[in-house]
């Protein structure tokens, strides 16, 4: 509790928001606040200025891109992903959102905040890497779009640097997505998570085995387009050995390596089952 002193701005447009962020390199965007406010309570990290995005309508909404892909405004809440019809077309989104924390957090927390906080235990970073999502970042001198694997740089660190704002996340067409996680209790913090998206080949990403999501590229290659149980299981062999996960009170390095293999298989098989 008990935050350090902080300045506050409440822009109405992306323009204003980006300017506010650019004016002070200690400025940070405040989306749902379900991570940032807690970090500030611990005084572990303290922005000098909070740029509250709640009024910025351009950052909300979920749009079908026409080609079967989706465009998610950065301020889309987990609750939106559960309720929204367009999002319903990509059922994994609601399924994963529903497993995040609790009602209160799902009502406030946003997908933009989830990825920008880049906490290794978050569900969406590995999922979006697997889905090959594109991240659109706005700065004072314009807009750029990056693939997921270039977006995540470290714990609490993303390509959206000081003075920049993640505005939307674009999902390419697809639908055969799977997610599997071992969490501390039901809907708890992830110990290890894995996501897979099958779209003319498998994209597999692991969460909580490093600071940022890790692609299981060797496993992907071994699978090719053969999603049979035996192939997938065989393909996962040795995946753990390629990882150097942190060890903590919830899991040893070896346990995480092991879970990575098991969960990667489950994610792929769940993706295969999804219609």
């Amino acid at each position: 509790m008990l935050l350090r002193e902080v300045e506050y701005a409440r822009p109405q447009t992306v323009e204003e928001a980006v300017r506010a962020l650019a004016e002070n390199d200690g400025a940070r965007a405040l989306a749902g606040g379900q991570t940032l406010i807690n970090v500030m309570k611990a005084r572990a990290a303290s922005p000098d200025v909070l740029v509250d995005l709640q009024d910025v309508e351009e950052l909300r909404g979920i749009r079908d891109t026409g080609n079967g892909g989706l465009e998610l405004g950065a301020m889309t809440t987990y609750a939106d992903l559960l309720a929204d019809e367009a999002a319903g077309a990509r059922s994994i989104l609601g399924e994963v959102a529903a497993a995040i924390a609790d009602v209160q957090v799902r009502n406030r927390g946003t997908i933009g905040g989830n990825v920008c906080s880049s906490d290794p235990t978050n569900h969406f970073p590995p999922l979006l890497v697997a889905m090959n999502a594109q991240f659109t970042i706005r700065g004072v001198d314009g807009e750029r779009t990056l693939p997921a694997n270039e977006f995540f740089l470290g714990v609490y660190m993303t390509a959206a640097g000081p003075g920049e704002l993640l505005t939307r996340i674009t999902l390419p067409p697809g639908g055969q997505d799977g997610f599997a996680a071992v969490t501390i209790g039901m809907d708890g913090t992830a110990i290890v998570s894995a996501a897979a998206s099958l779209n003319g080949g498998a994209r597999i990403a692991l969460g909580c085995v490093d600071a940022t999501p890790v692609r299981a590229t060797q496993m992907e290659q071994r699978i090719g387009e053969d999603y049979s149980v035996d192939t997938v299981r065989a393909a996962a062999q040795g995946l753990g050995a390629t990882l150097d996960p942190p060890s903590d009170v919830h899991a040893s390095t070896d346990y995480r390596r092991h879970l990575a293999e098991v969960l990667a298989v489950r994610a792929v098989l769940r993706a295969r089952e999804r219609r």
Partner: protein, 149 residues
Amino acid sequence: MKVEGTRSFAAPRETVWEVLNDPARMAKTMPGVESFDVSDDTHWRANVKIPLGLGGLSMSIDFEKTEERRPEFARLAAKGNGVGAIMNMVTAFHLTEDGGGTEMKWEADVKIAGPVGSMGQRVLQPIVNQQVNAVLTALEKQVQEANTQ
């Protein structure tokens, strides 16, 4: 927690040694350095704001060179004090000549305590690795610069 590794530089050992032992250059390798003062050739103090995505973590870090065998070995002790965290680090590097280049074996034993710890262990180790990598990358840059001068 202990982190270690090996790094090769395309520069002679002397150059790498110079950079590693030049506080001014070392300052440039540290992320978020706001000020840096050298009290004597074995004691330096840096005020840094480690740029975490969610906002900076301010710390003042005192460095002491506790051991040195020019040009192949040095050990540094660092004590960091910040609102969010207390940091204690002992780091050492061994330089060996490797053809025209230099190989650096380094290790660091980092201890972090304080509120940042209450954010959950999951974030600490990766954050440390992150900062170490940032330093090494910057170090490479410094070595190259020094080498081309």
